[in-house]
């Protein structure tokens, strides 16, 4: 049988052999100078129109990698030696700020049109939209007058019935936490009061906050204006309140990755995100507030100037993140049940 095996062994490669083609340069492959790699933590319905329009206007092919803010920022940090991303698109600016080693400062060409309060001092990031922290409540279960401020959350009626996402996971929750501290009463006191109001319970994601309020498993919730508006627009039984004792309006933004392989295209993209055309759409389609001063705000929303704004220190928020979060998890475990 040895001979048979030999013959078979000789013939099998013939059977299996496919004509292997030499790879030719593919005619439709875009050149490197017509490319851009964008890491984005925005939702698909936000980034897709912007990126498609950017492609149509500039002829630049955009390769999108989407994911969570922290995940993508860590990835950029890991790739710091050989960056693959050109732009980080999305994420609160204090998150971007805390990874500022990974980014190159860039003052965009449209900077003049951007409101003073959303300008980056270092130029590390370019703002995209303004996102005030709001409180939401279920309109069927909560009377509008019972929830107007952070203080109202401490009412026994809401104890353990407040939807709040884990600030270690959710960037917006962290912003809300810092905002709460800024409303006064000192850091430890503020955190303890909030922990007690939460009764030690928090949710796994910011998206779950609105779901919990809408289905009545929580009475009230802490979230961002944009998220709340989207759910209200979807017809859920939710209303939002700007806390009378103070809210913040921290923008999310984009940043140019240090050593970006397509740096010029990345700058074009950053300029585009704050262009009038895009910023108009931010207000019209995404339930967000534009960061440009020269675009009229949505008349259905209260102007920022009428809201009680706390002074939100982005630098402090990003520098004290670890300390604050460890304090928070300690206090959360301490809550007497």
């Amino acid at each position: 049988m040895k001979k048979q095996i030999l013959i078979l062994a000789l013939l099998l490669p013939l059977l299996a052999s496919c004509a292997e083609k030499q790879p030719e340069p593919y005619p439709y492959t875009p050149d490197q100078d017509r490319r851009l790699v964008v890491y984005t933590s925005h939702k698909e319905e936000v980034y897709t129109p912007i990126i498609r329009e950017f492609e149509e206007r500039t002829g630049i092919w955009v390769d999108v990698v989407s994911g969570g803010t922290n995940e993508l920022l860590q990835r950029i940090q890991q790739e710091a030696d050989a960056p693959k991303a050109d732009v980080m698109f999305g994420g609160g600016v204090e998150s971007l700020e805390s990874y500022q080693d990974c980014f190159s400062p860039y003052i965009c060409r449209e900077a003049a049109g951007i409101s003073e309060q959303f300008q980056s001092e270092s130029g590390c990031w370019t703002p995209f939209s303004a996102l005030p922290v709001v409180l939401v409540y279920n309109t069927k279960l909560v009377a509008p007058e019972s929830l107007t401020s952070w203080k109202d959350l401490e009412s026994p009626a809401f104890r353990g019935k407040i939807a709040f996402a884990d600030p270690q996971i959710s960037g917006s929750s962290y912003t809300a936490l810092v905002t709460r501290i800024q409303t006064g009463g000192g850091m430890e006191d503020s955190l303890t009061r909030l922990c007690t109001a939460l009764d030690g319970k928090q949710l796994d994601s910011s998206g779950a906050v609105l779901t919990a309020v809408a289905d009545g498993s929580a009475l009230v919730g802490i979230t961002l204006e944009e998220t709340a508006l989207q759910h209200i627009a979807a017809g859920e039984d939710i209303a939002l309140v700007y806390p009378s004792d103070g809210t913040s309006c921290v923008p999310d933004g984009s940043a140019l990755v240090k050593g970006a392989p397509h740096g010029d295209n990345a700058r074009l993209f950053l300029d585009f995100t704050v262009s009038t055309d895009v910023q108009s759409m931010v207000g019209q389609r995404f339930c967000r507030r534009t960061v440009r001063a020269d675009i009229p705000a949505d008349p259905s929303l209260p102007p920022l100037s009428t809201l009680n704004m706390v002074s939100y220190d982005v630098e402090w928020a990003s520098q004290n993140r670890d300390r604050l979060l460890s304090e928070w998890s300690f206090l959360l475990g301490e809550v007497p049940s």
Binding site: Q4, L11, Y26, P27, Y28, T29, T48, R52, V62, D277
Partner: protein
């Protein structure tokens, strides 16, 4: 019979059968599958080229229709009115006229410069607007009259939008002509242009999906193609299940992707391999089924022969090989049987001869025992007779002793001279016995003296002459003459006696006619000569032609060799 398997005749036969049956089959199936693969690939390529050409022509309709309609509208005098006045049937008529022939392709709409819908060939809700700072109108505005095509992000059912800026003869912009293609439009446009098993995917300029003939394929395939294009520079024309043909349609900037299922998919190859494997298995089984009886038919007779040979080697001559069939193996078996029979006969003859020889030797030994004693006795007699002065007894006993010694000597052949000497001794004894009644003459030429003859062949002839021929005859003479006749030695013994009876005259004695008592000597001599030299030689008896008396002639070959050796 335990041999290594590979050396067994049967296994080698089986192996040959297998090679003969499997090798061509495997080569054949390999070549066939390769050829069919190449042919099918060619066919697929041709199909793909043809279908792509048809589909490109279909796409050309899009890129021809919009600019055509735009030009037709621009030439219409009514156009400026379209963007200032309200609903007007004349303008609708102009729009329908301009889009005649391609309204099955798309819906056409007129938008004013602010992006508000004015007129449409389709059923659209009033108050529809398109942003002029975004999307297709923005692009059309910047294209300066050229038609642009985009896939809208929020176009509802619209998959592809084309737009062209309409201008008045002075070059001032008036509004936009927009064409919108829905999924149904694409299906109608491509219907019958590609094979039923193939799928069509339309990508925009940046390889985002626009339309797919199979809805599930749209996002998935487009994403993977785009990912591959951007990450490895090539979307890859072939997968295990599909082949892709991608072609750009420059007027619209769209890309056409034709997806064909592979003829030789993994499962087809598996099936092919399974079929080949089954054939190989069949080949093995058939080879074994055919080979085993045949090899048995060959190896069994050979095995029987081998067994017979080994019995033969052990001296078993009763061995017999049964033969079945008239083929070469049957002939071999019968040849073997014949050979064994011949060997057996030969062996029996040999045994017979040996027995005869042994008996003769025993007889000879017995014969040699007593004569020595007799010789000694005769010698004693000779001396006693000499002492007692009886000379005849002394002479007789001397002669007798010599004759006896000569008789019992070990040598079989003696020179003729010696034979004649012994003959003389005998004649001396007979003369004393018969009181000198006959004379004895020997004529022996000197050159024949050394001829070798069997001993004691002359004495019986002479004795016969004395005893039977000379009785009652005076002055009888016995002559012994030796002569050379050619290569033969001829010894003639003649007498002048009564002669031979007629029944004895003639050629040599035949065994059956040999007399038991009389002439036993002649018979013995003839037998000796014949045994030694062959049937040509022997005695010849007749009567003396020159008168009375008998004549006995002994013919034997003339030989001297042993004398020369001595």
């Amino acid at each position: 019979m335990t041999r290594p398997l590979s050396h067994s005749f049967r296994n080698r036969l089986l192996l040959s059968f297998l090679i003969a049956s499997l090798a061509p089959m495997i080569i054949c199936s390999t070549m066939l599958s390769q050829i069919s693969r190449i042919q099918m690939t060619k066919q697929l390529d041709t199909d793909a080229q043809t279908q792509t050409a048809h589909l490109m022509t279909a796409l050309d309709r899009i890129s021809d229709a919009l600019p055509g309609a735009a030009r037709a509208l621009e030439e219409s005098r009514l156009l400026p009115r379209a963007f200032t006045s309200r609903e007007d049937t004349q303008i609708n008529t102009a729009l329908f006229l301009a889009t005649e022939g391609s309204r099955d392709l798309a819906d056409y709409s007129l938008y004013d410069l602010r992006g508000s819908l004015r007129y449409s060939t389709g059923s659209v809700t009033a108050g529809t607007t398109l942003s002029t700072r975004w999307g297709v109108l923005f692009a059309a505005k910047n294209a300066g009259g050229q038609a642009v095509y985009q896939a809208p992000m929020d176009g509802g059912k619209t998959l592809l939008q084309g737009a062209a800026l309409l201008k008045n003869p002075q070059g001032e912009p008036l509004g936009y002509l927009v064409m919108e293609l829905s999924e149904e439009n694409f299906q109608k446009l491509f219907a019958g242009k590609y094979g039923s098993s193939n799928e069509v995917l339309i990508l925009n300029r940046y390889w985002h999906p626009v339309y797919a003939s199979q809805s599930g394929m749209k996002e998935e395939l487009a994403d993977s193609l785009r990912g591959q294009l951007l990450r490895s520079g090539n979307p890859g024309a072939e997968t295990e299940e599909y082949r892709l043909l991608i072609q750009e349609h420059p007027p619209t900037g769209l890309y056409l992707v034709l997806r064909q299922p592979q003829m030789f998919t993994q499962s087809t190859m598996k099936l092919l391999h399974a079929a080949s494997f089954f054939c190989v298995l069949m080949g093995i089984v058939i080879s074994a089924v055919l080979c085993l009886p045949l090899s048995r038919r060959i190896s069994q007779p050979i095995g029987r022969l081998l067994k017979a040979f080994s019995r033969l080697e052990q001296d078993d001559l009763d061995v017999h090989v049964s033969r079945d069939g008239e083929d070469e193996l049957g002939q071999l078996a019968s040849g073997f049987n014949h050979m064994v029979l011949a060997l057996k006969a030969n062996r029996q003859e040999l045994v017979e001869n040996q027995r005869e020889l042994n008996q003769a030797q025993v007889r000879m030994l017995q014969a040699q025992l007593n004569p020595h004693f007799l010789c000694n006795t005769l010698d004693t007699m000779k001396w006693i007779s000499k002492i007692n002065h009886v000379p005849q007894v002394a002479l007789m006993s001397t002669n007798l002793a010599d004759i006896l010694r000569f008789c019992i000597s070990a040598e079989e052949f003696v020179p003729l001279r010696r034979e004649v000497e012994v003959l003389n001794r005998y004649v001396e004894i007979q003369k004393i016995r018969l009181s000198d009644q006959f004379s004895f003459l020997v004529s022996l030429p000197e050159k024949l003296e050394t001829c070798m003859v069997p001993k004691m062949i002359l004495q019986p002839i002479v004795e016969n002459a004395i005893l039977h021929g000379l009785e009652g005859i005076s002055d009888s003479v016995i002559r012994v003459e030796a002569a050379q006749e050619g290569e033969d030695l001829l010894i003639t013994v003649t007498d002048n006696g009564h002669g031979l009876p007629p029944d004895m005259i003639g050629h040599p004695y035949r065994r059956e006619s040999a007399p038991t008592g009389h002439h036993l000597g002649l018979f013995n001599v003839d037998t000796i000569l014949k045994k030694h030299y062959g049937e040509r030689y022997g005695l010849y008896l007749d009567n003396n032609p020159a008168g009375s008396g008998a004549r006995v002639r002994a013919r034997l070959p003339l030989r001297r060799r042993e004398e020369e050796e001595c």
